[in-house]
C-alpha cells in the first residue's frame, strides 16, 4: 500500500480566454498514493462543488494514455514529472508529503486558454484536415501480407503513429513550434506505400497550415522529444524537413 500524502496545489484559474488569470492555492489532505493525478483533481472538484465554488476545468477523456485529451503542465513539465506517460497516467505516489505542486495550462500562442487548465487545441485538427490523411477509400482490412512493407519502415511508421496529438510538444517548445506533431503525422503515412502517393502534397499542405496558424519554427532544442508522452523522436522532424525540401525542389 502506498502512503497517504498531504500537499499544497497551486492551480491556474482563469475564467475565460480574455480574462486575467491567477494562481489559487488548495491544501490537499491525506491523499492515497495510488490516486491518479486526475482523480486527485476530481476529489478537489467535489470539495469545491460542495463548498459552492466553481470546480477547476481541465481536459480529460480516456484516462489511459491513448486519447491525448489530458494536458496539464505540472511542476515545469508537460504531463508532469514522468517520462513516456500522460497526465492521466501519473499517480500521487510520485510526490512527497508537504510538496507544493504547481499546475498550469499549456501556454503557447497557438493554444489559447479556454478556461482554467483547458486550452483550445483545434489548431491541430486544422493541420490534420489540411492533409493528414490518405484520400482514397481503402475498403475492408486487406490480407496482412498483400502489400509487403519492410520491417524497419513499418516500425518507424508505428512509432510515429503513437502520437496522440496531445500538444505537449508545443507546450514544451520555447518557439511554440508544432514540428514534432506535424512530423509524426507526416511520417506515419510517408513511410508506407498507401501514404507515399500523396506525400509531397501532404507535407506542403500540413506545413503551410502549421505556419499559417502561427506556430513557430523548429530550432532543434529537443524539449519536445524529451517531454512527449509517446517518446516520438526528432528523427521524424528530419524526415519532415527532407520531404518538404524535396517537394519544394521538385516543384
Amino acid at each position: 500500500m502506498d502512503k497517504n500524502i498531504s500537499f499544497t496545489l497551486r492551480v491556474w484559474r482563469q475564467r475565460g480566454p480574455k480574462e486575467k488569470g491567477e494562481f489559487k492555492q488548495y491544501f490537499m489532505e491525506d491523499i492515497p498514493g495510488d490516486t491518479s493525478f486526475l482523480e486527485m483533481l476530481d476529489i478537489l472538484n467535489e470539495k469545491l462543488i460542495n463548498r459552492n465554488e466553481e470546480p477547476i476545468v481541465f481536459d480529460h477523456d480516456c484516462r489511459e494514455g491513448i486519447c491525448g485529451m489530458c494536458s496539464l503542465y505540472i511542476n515545469g513539465h508537460p504531463h508532469g514529472p514522468a517520462t513516456g506517460a500522460t497526465t492521466c497516467q501519473i499517480y500521487m505516489r510520485r510526490f512527497q508529503d508537504g510538496d507544493v505542486i504547481t499546475v498550469e495550462p499549456w501556454r503557447s500562442a497557438g493554444f489559447p486558454v479556454i478556461r482554467d487548465l483547458m486550452v483550445d487545441r483545434r489548431a491541430f485538427d486544422k493541420i490534420m484536415a489540411a492533409g493528414g490523411y490518405v484520400s482514397v477509400n481503402t475498403g475492408g482490412v486487406p490480407d496482412a501480407n498483400a502489400i509487403p512493407i519492410p520491417k524497419a519502415a513499418a516500425d518507424e511508421a508505428m512509432d510515429a503513429a503513437a502520437c496522440i496529438g496531445c500538444g505537449a510538444c508545443v507546450a514544451a517548445c520555447k518557439n511554440g513550434s508544432a514540428m514534432l506533431f506535424v512530423s509524426a503525422k507526416v511520417s506515419q503515412l510517408a513511410l508506407l506505400p498507401q501514404g507515399k502517393v500523396e506525400a509531397k502534397r501532404r507535407v506542403k499542405a500540413m506545413l503551410a497550415k502549421m505556419d499559417e496558424l502561427g506556430f513557430g519554427a523548429c530550432t532543434n532544442t529537443r524539449a519536445c522529444e524529451a517531454e512527449c508522452p509517446k517518446c516520438v523522436s526528432i528523427s521524424n522532424i528530419a524526415r519532415l524537413n527532407r520531404q518538404f525540401i524535396g517537394a519544394k525542389l521538385s516543384d
Partner: protein, 231 residues
C-alpha cells in the same frame, strides 16, 4: 518563395549560411596555423588574400553570408517569440537532452558578432581595407604579434572563441538536421562528428593566439625555434 515564407525554408537559409560560415572558419583556421610554422608562408597568404579580385569577391560573399545569417536569425527569433505567446510558465525545468547552447543561440550569436567587429578592427581594417583605399597594408605577422602581446585582446578573443564553440556544438548537427540529412542513427553520429570537428577547429584558433601570447610575454626560446625566422 518557400525560402522566405515557410518556417522550414527560413531554417534552410540559416542552415546553409551557417554551414558556409563553418567552411570559411575551417580555411581561416588552417591559414592561421601557417603562422606557427613559417612567417614567410603567412606573409605570402596575406599578400595572396590582399586587394585581389578573388579575395574581394570572397570577402563580399562572406559578408553576404553573415548578413543573411544574422537577418534570418533575428527574423526567426522574433517570430518564434511571438509564436510562444506572452504568457510565461511560473515553473520551468530544463528537460534531459536539451543543451545550453540550443536555448541561447541568438545570444551566443550576438557575442560572436561583437567579437567579429573587434576582429575586423584589429586586422581587416589595417590590411585589406587599407589596401583597397590605395595604401600599404600592415604586415600580417607584426599585427598578430602586436595584438596577442596584449593580455586584454587575448582574453577577449578566448571569450569569443568560447562563444563560437558553443554556437557550433549545437549549430553543426542542427544545420544537418534542418536540411533533413539525419535519422535515428545519424543523429548520434553527426553530434559526435560536430563536437569533435568544432573542438579541433576552435583549438586551432586558440593555439595560435596562446602560442603568440606566450612568445611575446615569456620569450620562451623553444617557441622562437618553431616560428623559425620570426625574431
Amino acid at each position: 518563395m518557400w525560402l522566405f515564407n515557410s518556417s522550414v525554408g527560413k531554417k534552410v537559409v540559416m542552415s546553409i549560411t551557417g554551414l558556409g560560415l563553418v567552411l570559411f572558419l575551417t580555411f581561416h583556421m588552417t591559414m592561421n596555423c601557417v603562422a606557427l610554422f613559417s612567417a614567410e608562408g603567412y606573409r605570402f597568404i596575406c599578400e595572396f588574400l590582399g586587394a585581389n579580385w578573388y579575395a574581394i569577391v570572397g570577402t563580399i560573399g562572406l559578408a553576404l553570408l553573415m548578413v543573411i545569417h544574422i537577418a534570418y536569425a533575428t527574423w526567426l527569433t522574433l517570430s518564434n517569440k511571438k509564436a510562444r505567446g506572452n504568457e510565461r510558465y511560473a515553473v520551468t525545468a530544463r528537460p534531459k537532452g536539451v543543451e545550453f547552447a540550443s536555448r541561447n543561440m541568438f545570444v551566443l550569436g550576438l557575442i560572436v558578432f561583437l567579437g567579429l567587429v573587434l576582429h575586423l578592427c584589429n586586422f581587416w581594417a589595417k590590411m585589406q581595407l587599407v589596401e583597397l583605399r590605395g595604401g600599404i597594408p600592415e604586415d600580417g605577422v607584426d599585427l598578430i604579434r602586436y595584438t596577442f602581446s596584449k593580455w586584454y585582446f587575448v582574453l577577449l578573443y578566448l571569450i569569443w572563441f568560447g562563444a563560437i564553440w558553443f554556437h557550433l556544438t549545437h549549430g553543426f548537427w542542427s544545420a544537418i538536421q534542418t536540411i533533413g540529412m539525419s535519422n535515428r542513427k545519424w543523429f548520434v553520429r553527426w553530434k559526435w562528428i560536430g563536437y569533435i570537428f568544432v573542438t579541433l577547429l576552435m583549438l586551432g584558433f586558440v593555439g595560435v593566439v596562446v602560442t603568440f601570447f606566450c612568445y611575446e610575454t615569456f620569450h620562451w626560446p623553444f617557441l622562437a625555434s618553431i616560428f623559425g625566422g620570426l625574431a
